[in-house]
C-alpha cells in the first residue's frame, strides 16, 4: 500500500512548488505587503514545518540503509527547525537575527546529506543524477537566505531563495525510480520503468 519512492518525490515536489510560488510572490511584493494578512505570514513557514513533519514517515518507511535514515532524519529535523524558527520570527516570539540562519542551515544540511547519501556517480541513473544536482542546488541556494538574512529589503536574495525551491520542485518532478539520464543507465540500476 506504500506509494513507490518516485511518487513520494512528486508529492514533495508539489509542496516545494507551492512553497516556491508563495516565496516568489513575497519577494515580488515585499515582506510588508505579504505580511498584511496574518494567515499569509504564517503560510510558508507552516508549509515548511509540515513538510519536515511528513519527512519522518519517509525516513521510517523508505530508508534501506543507515546512511539513508540519517540523511532523511537530518532533512526532517532541519526543515522543522527552519519552519519553526520562521514561525517564531513572524509571531514576534523570536527577535535575534541569528534565527534567520536556520533556513540556510537547513539547506546546507540537506544539500550535504543528499550528496553524502548518494553512493553512485552522476550518470548511474536519473535518480543518482538528480541527487547530485539537488544537493548542489541546495548548497548554492543556501547563499540566498544567508545573505538575505542580513539584507532583508533586497529582492534579489529573496527571489533567488524562492527560485531555489521552484528549481528543486522541477528536479523532484523529474525523478523516476529507474530511468536513464542523457542516455546513460547503469546495468546495475535495474530494469527501466516507464
Amino acid at each position: 500500500m506504500e506509494p513507490p519512492a518516485e511518487h513520494v518525490h512528486w508529492l514533495f515536489a508539489t509542496g516545494f512548488l507551492l512553497l516556491g510560488l508563495c516565496l516568489l510572490a513575497r519577494a515580488l511584493v515585499g515582506e510588508d505587503v505579504w505580511s498584511r494578512r496574518p494567515w499569509r505570514a504564517y503560510l510558508w513557514p507552516s508549509l515548511l514545518f509540515l513538510m519536515g513533519v511528513l519527512m519522518w514517515p519517509v525516513m521510517v518507511f523508505y530508508t534501506n540503509s543507515m546512511i539513508h535514515m540519517v540523511a532523511h532524519g537530518a532533512w526532517a529535523q532541519t526543515m522543522m527547525l527552519a519552519g519553526a524558527a520562521e514561525l517564531g520570527l513572524v509571531r514576534g516570539k523570536l527577535h535575534n537575527v541569528a534565527w534567520r540562519l536556520a533556513m540556510p542551515l537547513a539547506l546546507v544540511v540537506s544539500g550535504v546529506a543528499i550528496l553524502v547519501h548518494e553512493q553512485n556517480g552522476w550518470l548511474f541513473s536519473r535518480a543518482a543524477f538528480l541527487h547530485h544536482v539537488i544537493g548542489w542546488t541546495a548548497l548554492i541556494g543556501a547563499l540566498f537566505p544567508l545573505i538575505g538574512a542580513f539584507r532583508r529589503r533586497s529582492p534579489v536574495w529573496s527571489s533567488g531563495f524562492a527560485i531555489t525551491f521552484v528549481v528543486i520542485a522541477v528536479f523532484l518532478y523529474s525523478d523516476r525510480d529507474v530511468a536513464p539520464i542523457f542516455g546513460h543507465l547503469s546495468p546495475l540500476a535495474g530494469e527501466q520503468h516507464r
Binding site: 500500500m1 506509494p3 513507490p4 511518487h7 512528486w10 508529492l11 515536489a13 508539489t14 512548488l17 507551492l18 510560488l21 508563495c22 516568489l24 510572490a25 515580488l28 511584493v29 510588508d32 505587503v33 505579504w34 498584511r36 494578512r37 499569509r40 503560510l43 518532478y173 516507464r194
Partner: protein
C-alpha cells in the same frame, strides 16, 4: 511634464508590473503542467485508468502542478494583489 509626475508614473507602472507578475504566477504554473501533460500524456493515468494501482491514479505529476497553480491563483494571489494595490494607494 514635471519630473515629479514622470517619476510617479514610472513608479506606478513598476508597481502594476509587480501586481501583474503575481497574477501570472498561478496561470504560468498551470500552463507548465498542461504543457507537461501534452509532452508526456502517459503521466496522466486518468486517460488509461485500467490496471492502474491507487497511487498511479492518485499521484499524477502534471495534474499536481496544475493543482498548485489553481490553489495559488484562487487562494493566495488575489489577496496579495489586493494588498499590493492598497499599499500603492
Amino acid at each position: 511634464m514635471s519630473t515629479q509626475l514622470i517619476t510617479e508614473r514610472v513608479a506606478t507602472r513598476r508597481r502594476s508590473l509587480r501586481a501583474r507578475a503575481v497574477a501570472a504566477l498561478g496561470p504560468l504554473t498551470m500552463l507548465g503542467g498542461v504543457c507537461w501533460a501534452f509532452l508526456q500524456p502517459y503521466r496522466i493515468t486518468l486517460l488509461h485508468p485500467h490496471d492502474q494501482g491507487f497511487w498511479w491514479l492518485f499521484v499524477q505529476p502534471p495534474l499536481l502542478a496544475v493543482l498548485v497553480g489553481v490553489v495559488f491563483a484562487l487562494f493566495v494571489a488575489p489577496g496579495v494583489i489586493e494588498d499590493l494595490q492598497a499599499e500603492e494607494r
